[in-house]
């Protein structure tokens, strides 16, 4: 120890242990001060240092990096399609995602991705509790960022509390406005990044700079600026505690084998300040320094046990470990542990980590299953699709020479990124002739379809009088064939030919 006791006494009257200040802070939701209605108590989250804090900085950098930079990533799709790697293209009704290009009727791929995301969420929750809430939830990430901004301008917990208590001065106005201006700038950037997912990012950026972007872009930037500022900078933990349904659902998703941020009560209690030279026998390791409460972004006391407000960000672990190191006690008074192990440790029994449980296996199995289905669907995804719509009114037309004609609308979807040439034919209909409206002159016309486009054709199929007897009845099955003239592949579609009852 490099600081003498007298010096410390001058600075901080309350000491939890030699060199450790006892902070004057109480959990906002402590049972004794839990009224039915209460105004929010402002939480001054203290800066934590340690493994989990580092992990959280990295996760923040990665997630925010993806969010802000992804729209700027380019992906070459040839001359006919946008080259933005991730683009939700509403005007052309396409969802472009790197190599994948989803048409509206293929939206099940997005559904599959969402199902996978939920299952992954269930799986990590079963394994390690609210990992999503603590590390990757946008609310957590942006709140963390906003708190970091606040800390940058106004200082850490104590400085911020002093500033709030201090009378208004030019200095205070400057610090407060600088904080809010930075928050707003981040919010505007958040809204700005969001709209880039819906329109070519460089183009839209140019339009923003020349104030010629579409009104809807400004509206959405406004909406996201407002929500980021309100939820991330102002409301913060209240979103998690009062607005988010996930904490309520989570309770059913982890069990006594899930790794949760927990206080090892058997080790910590009875708690109390520890004086230098005092024995650690017959007392707990918790010196009641309340560092764990001070760093908590939702302002709770982990020593009260598992609770709804805890987003399991693990910052209390970092704070406690720092103190344990300083007072020379083993780390891990607060740690990731399972309810089962906590009980075993308290009774001195051996602990074990039981990861493979029915719910974990179920979630993992479902993830594999859904991924397989998606993969198979993706591998079987055709780049040429044909839809046939039979005319229903009239069902058939009798011609003057006794022949029978049916009308069809044939839609050719060219999902390739280059123009396609296709030939339409039919199979399984005796002596039938095919006429495509607009291609009456050519015998076997090559039908060109623009890249990434659909072409609807009106097609008349006529069976001459002599061949009507060869039909299998009033309803005859046959196939339309659409041959891709570029690679020779053929798509077949079943449909029927209708003729009068004989």
């Amino acid at each position: 120890m490099d600081v003498t006791a007298t010096e410390r006494a001058k600075k901080a009257p309350a000491e939890a242990a030699p060199g450790v200040e006892q902070l004057d802070v109480a959990a906002v939701n402590a049972a004794e001060t839990r009224p039915l209605y209460a105004v929010r108590e402002k939480i001054y989250a203290k800066r934590a240092y340690g493994t989990y804090r580092t992990v959280k900085w990295i996760v923040m950098a990665v997630t925010l990096g993806i969010y802000y930079l992804l729209p700027w990533l380019r992906w070459d799709r040839g001359p006919y399609l946008p080259d933005q790697a991730v683009l939700i293209d509403f005007p052309d009704r396409r969802f472009l995602f790197f190599f994948l290009e989803i048409w509206p009727q293929e939206f099940y791929f997005v559904t599959g991705l969402l199902i996978l995301a939920s299952l992954a969420l269930f799986l990590v929750t079963a394994l390690a509790g609210r990992v999503w809430c603590g590390y990757t939830c946008p609310q957590t990430v942006w709140t963390d960022l906003m708190i970091a901004v606040e800390r940058f301008w106004q200082g850490d917990r104590n400085a911020r509390m002093r500033l709030d208590k201090a009378p208004w001065s030019l200095h205070k106005i400057w610090l407060k406005s600088a904080t809010h201006i930075t928050w707003l700038a981040i919010s505007v950037a958040t809204g700005g990044a969001f709209v880039f997912y819906f329109r070519d990012a460089p183009t839209l950026m140019g339009e923003f700079l020349t104030f010629s972007a579409p009104a809807i872009a400004y509206i959405f930037v406004g909406i996201f600026t407002a929500t980021t500022y309100l939820l991330g900078a102002i409301a913060r933990e209240q979103v998690c505690i009062y607005m988010c349904p996930w904490p309520r659902i989570q309770g059913a998703m982890f069990d006594q084998y899930s790794l949760l941020v927990s206080y090892r009560e058997w080790r910590g209690e009875p708690r109390g300040p520890h004086k230098k030279g005092e024995s650690w026998d017959n007392r707990g390791d918790c010196i009641d320094c309340k560092q764990c409460v001070a760093v908590c972004p939702t302002g709770i006391d982990i020593r009260d046990g598992a609770q709804l407000e805890c987003i399991q960000c693990a910052l209390c672990i970092d704070a406690c470990n720092t103190i344990m190191d300083r007072i020379g006690r083993p780390r891990g008074l607060i740690d990731y542990d399972t309810i089962d192990n906590l009980e075993a440790e308290a009774e001195g029994k051996p602990t074990k980590l039981k990861l493979l449980r029915p719910r974990v296996l179920l979630y993992a199995g479902l993830i594999v299953l859904v991924s397989l289905i998606m993969l198979i669907a993706l591998l079987n995804r055709t780049v040429l699709e044909v839809n046939i719509l039979r005319d229903r009114n009239p069902i058939f037309v009798e011609l003057s020479d006794g022949g029978v004609r049916n009308g069809y609308t044939v839609k050719i979807l060219n999902k390739l990124h280059e123009p396609g040439k296709f030939q339409l034919g039919l199979e399984g209909l005796p002596d039938a002739s095919l006429k495509i409206v607009g291609f009456e002159q050519a015998a076997n016309p090559a039908i060109s379809v623009l890249p990434d486009d659909l072409r609807a054709l009106r097609v008349f199929v006529t069976v001459p009088r002599e061949s009507i007897a060869k039909l299998t009845g009033p309803v005859t099955d046959f196939e339309f064939t659409v041959t891709d003239l570029n690679d020779g592949s053929t798509v077949r579609n079943d449909t029927t030919f209708r003729s009068p009852e004989k």
Binding site: P35, N393, P394, G402
Partner: protein, 288 residues
């Protein structure tokens, strides 16, 4: 009034309401909530002044902004008309073959023609132009008055027995009703007509009927019975029968004649609409 009761646990007044021993605390609304209420009151008063709102006996308050949903609709319709006008102008200036050859105009004409067909033609010809007994099927390739674009366009304009000065018109005698032929002769001619179309017929009777046909019918229907679109006389050799193709149906037509009517659309619909209708009907599959 007695003094309000104070709740022991919270130290807050109760409202005096009690259900099953549970008392309601008297907690005032948050201030911002109250302000929202005042704001909505001010908003509604401002709305009354600015917008049409209060019904009066014979009228209603118009509001200072002069908003009217009818005006909005009228404006939307005018805008839609204006958006169509570039196509309509081109359709007016282009001949029918030109419209068919221009993909843009063709698409517009087909859509416009289909809409006009549903409004004006479908009551007789059917929603799919499939026709009915007495009303021709417009999908097939049999045309009484010709199936070229110009023929169809002319029929649409002048109608059939419509009263239009240039109307398409013809008359088949009622051979039975007006006693121009004996019933036995009518029966023979029926057999001949059946044989022309390749349907079951008494060969001897048909032989007798052939002579009568040459005298009485061939002038309009042609010696071979193939009809003439100039005269509007139907082809009797094909498989299409406007009034039915059974022996009884054919006898009935010879005996009593038929004279269907189609209105002239010239003057009822705009020339551009009639052009679109002609293109639409021609594209149904039987156009020549």
């Amino acid at each position: 009034m007695s003094r309000p009761e104070i709740d022991d646990v919270t130290g807050v007044e109760t409202t005096g309401h009690e259900w099953d021993g549970i008392k309601e605390l008297n907690k005032p609304l948050p201030k911002w909530w109250l302000w929202v209420l005042y704001a909505t009151i001010i908003w509604s008063v401002a709305y009354w002044i600015a917008m049409p709102s209060w019904p009066l006996v014979a009228d209603y308050t118009k509001g200072l902004l002069g908003y009217s949903q009818r005006a909005v609709v009228a404006n939307s319709i005018a805008n839609a008309r204006a958006a169509q006008s570039q196509y309509l102008d081109r359709i007016a200036a282009t001949d029918l073959a030109g419209i068919k050859a221009d993909p843009d105009l063709l698409q517009f004409a087909l859509a416009g023609g289909q809409a006009a067909f549903g409004d004006n033609c479908a009551p007789c010809h059917g929603r799919g132009a499939q026709g009915a007994v007495g009303y021709p099927n417009l999908n097939d390739d049999a045309w009484l008055w010709g199936g070229t674009l110009d023929d169809i366009h002319h029929t649409l304009n002048v109608g059939i027995r419509s009263g239009h000065p240039d109307t398409r018109d013809n008359a088949m005698p009622a051979f039975g009703r007006d006693e121009l032929l004996e019933p036995a002769q009518i029966s023979d001619v029926t057999d001949y007509v059946l044989s022309l179309a390749g349907l079951d017929a008494n060969t001897e009777a048909a032989e007798r009927g052939k002579e009568i046909f040459a005298e009485q019918c061939a002038a309009c229907h042609g010696e071979d019975g193939k009809g003439d679109t100039e005269l509007g006389s139907p082809n009797l050799t094909d498989g299409i029968w406007l009034y039915g193709g059974t022996r009884d149906d054919i006898t009935d037509v010879i005996r009593n004649s038929r004279s269907g009517v189609m209105p002239a659309w010239d003057g009822r619909l705009s020339p551009e609409t009639i052009k679109q209708l002609a293109v639409f009907v021609h594209s149904l599959g039987g156009g020549q």
